[in-house]
Symmetry: C2
Subunit: 424 residues, 2 copies
């Protein structure tokens, strides 16, 4: 894509409503736009990054047998009354309102109440179990104060997976599988997380969270000595930095963190109220066990920016970058040389497009300061600069966003080398 | 995909809530599930068909320079007050409610009020125009009575495109381009439409609709003699079947039709209230002209089923079918023969999977009546049957869902022939 054709350009100043690094850079770079507190539009580059995250999640969910569905955001009152969550937590979390005909509606902030009766209609026998279904969809929360950019929103994108099992053993087995799939998702997205014990909130007595340590986080966690397990402060309120871990494994370290995923063993909490049972091998009615698992792609997008930026802008990990390659051509006062620079940029851009490599070219007439500043702000992994200086050596500048080094690469070799870089 | 692993199986009976062909077949075949009137869940096969429709639309929108964004469903009151649509049509169409902090919210049923101020922030000069942006997203309408399956819902999927122009000529030019792109979308989806003049409703004095003639439609249109243009009854209330067309082209034919798309020349209706202007070449402030264009992928899915079914089930057009090939193996009482049938099914299925061809295999133990009935109900384009009879001739049955003919094709040739069929 040519930068000149993109309507959502970068802004010179960070917008004043930006209260966190993710909001500041995503807004200033033209990835997102704020409609109101906690509600954002995804502009072309932001949507590309969001889609790449969603596709990584989709691949990992499919790999563990998840079947993709799409459930409604608009929901009737009745299934929420059956589990008691229409009242509690009720409107504290859920937008609830009346529609035509005095009918009660709520907006989905999670989908246990919708998916359990749906799966119940299809599952009759032990042969129909286990089942795992997921969706990627916008959810809503009636937050009084939404903040931290896209980390906590009134409208946010969510991948929610639900699994249904014939017994506790099978539930435990699949819960473990999902835990590993989640770890693969975060790794592929360039995010390091620590599995953290937490309270299950409105869902279950206990849950596991995937916490990404960062000063920008809202959660306090205590990390064990090995650095591979933690406890959320909410379940260990008396623990202190340096205190002994709940499992006796030695001193813990207190850290701020962002919760980028969570998983819940729900047991029969949402199946029992609706009488969701199945017939076992002996024709006996048995309860169905259920889990739910969440990753918020929009929050993960924000977390990635919190983890990967410097004071000049974003440093996108390769797997989620909106474009992999960013070409900058710098003007020369020498007319001939300038034409040759432009021509090289066109040729490299066209060759990469032909190869199906995702490339953006800043083809504008802006000066070098603005162009290089934009390149850093936008943060695509590989920056290729073509200038007077590089043309003298029949080469281009090759720079990775997260490295200081600049290399010269011959113009004749650059497309081949980019292909190798991309396929690595 | 193996049918046995799909959780959302077909049902023996058409569900009683089905009041139209699209609802009856999509529900019975396990493509969708009704949560309440006008609100449906998309199950794995329904979501696949919906995604294929969305991707056809996406390709055609990208081809005319549309840039994809994703706007919020949750919206503040203020921009709707600026255009007067918070009050009129107001809650008659829009879900409106209070959230935490006594704040007013509405759910998006269209996005002119959101997109115009957003584009305004990026467009300053004639150099920034034209701009075309679109999104594919769920919208909401406060319908008193939702009916006709997924044709008219309280929550529905929408592709909405908005374009912004420096003058009326450029607006007219692009409006024509979109009209052609829309015709390509419908053609690719296997739907024949007639461009129809209509009132612009809450948008503009005049609009064009894309109407698909069918008895299941809610709209009345008068089609001209050539059959390529029509007038909606709402703008020609005195016209009768056989009466002279408004353009004097001769007698019209009255038909029922489903509106599957609409396009509006909005002019300055939504840009003027917010002072959205640009600087022209001479530094003079000029008004920005705007159009909006809609296709509902979920309604289009329903319309496709209305247009393509018989009394046994759906007949998916190739471009939108959830799977292209549907393999059925029929049990034999001869143990050896049965093993060979199963083995052939496995081999053909695996070979097609390896080729990346979208194939479903009914690998269950059901009898021939149920298996062939399911194949017709589900309606994938190409059915391959392997049975005692075909094994005797080392072949399989080849049948297209929309044809009566059954051919025998040699087992050794079938994968090659399917590859040819798919690439046609």
């Amino acid at each position: 894509m040519k930068y000149s054709s993109l309507f959502a350009k970068t802004q010179k100043q960070a917008p004043h409503e930006a209260e966190s690094a993710n909001a500041r850079f995503l807004l200033q770079a033209g990835f997102i736009d704020q409609l109101m507190a906690g509600v954002y539009s995804y502009l072309p580059l932001g949507l590309r990054a969001l889609n790449r995250i969603q596709n990584i999640i989709r691949e990992e969910m499919n790999a563990i047998g998840g079947q993709e569905v799409l459930l409604p955001a608009l929901q009737p009152k009745e299934p929420w009354e059956a589990t008691g969550r229409w009242e509690n937590p009720g409107p504290e979390i859920m937008f609830q309102f009346k529609g035509a005909g005095d009918r009660d509606f709520g907006l989905g902030w999670t989908h246990e109440e919708i998916i359990a009766p749906l799966i119940q209609r299809f599952v009759k026998s032990y042969k129909d179990l286990p089942v795992a279904v997921y969706q990627i969809q916008d959810k809503f929360r009636n937050e009084l104060r939404a903040k931290s950019g896209i980390l906590r929103g009134r409208e946010f994108n969510m991948k929610d997976l639900y699994s249904f099992h014939a017994n506790i053993d099978d539930m435990d087995r699949y819960y473990g599988e999902v835990k590993e799939a989640y770890m693969r998702v975060f790794k592929r997205c360039g995010v390091e997380v620590i599995i953290t014990e937490a309270s299950g909130g409105d869902f279950s007595p206990l849950s596991h969270e995937f916490q990404m340590p960062t000063e920008a986080g809202e959660d306090d966690i205590y990390v064990n000595k090995a650095g591979d397990y933690a406890w959320n402060k909410e379940i260990a309120p008396d623990l202190q930095d340096g205190g002994d871990a709940p499992d006796g494994s030695g001193p813990v370290k207190e850290m701020k963190a962002i919760e980028v995923g969570n998983i819940f063993k729900l047991g029969t909490k949402f199946t029992e109220p609706i009488g969701f049972t199945y017939m076992d091998e002996k024709g006996k009615k048995k309860p169905v066990y259920m889990c739910s698992y969440g990753i918020g792609p929009s929050r993960l997008l924000g977390a990635i920016v919190e983890a990967h930026h410097d004071d000049r802008g974003i440093k996108w990990p390769i797997n989620v970058a909106p474009f992999l390659v960013y070409i900058v051509d710098l003007k020369s006062k020498d007319k001939d040389l300038d034409a040759r620079i432009k021509q090289s940029a066109v040729e490299i851009y066209d060759a990469l497009q032909d190869e199906g490599i995702e490339v953006m070219w800043d083809d504008t007439e802006a000066g070098p300061g603005e162009k290089l500043g934009n390149a850093d702000l936008l943060g695509m992994p590989l920056r290729i600069v073509i200038s007077e200086k590089t043309m003298m050596e029949n080469s281009v500048e090759w720079k990775l966003r997260w490295e200081k080094d600049i290399q010269l690469v011959g113009i004749v070799d650059v497309v081949e080398q980019i292909k190798e870089f991309v396929n690595k």
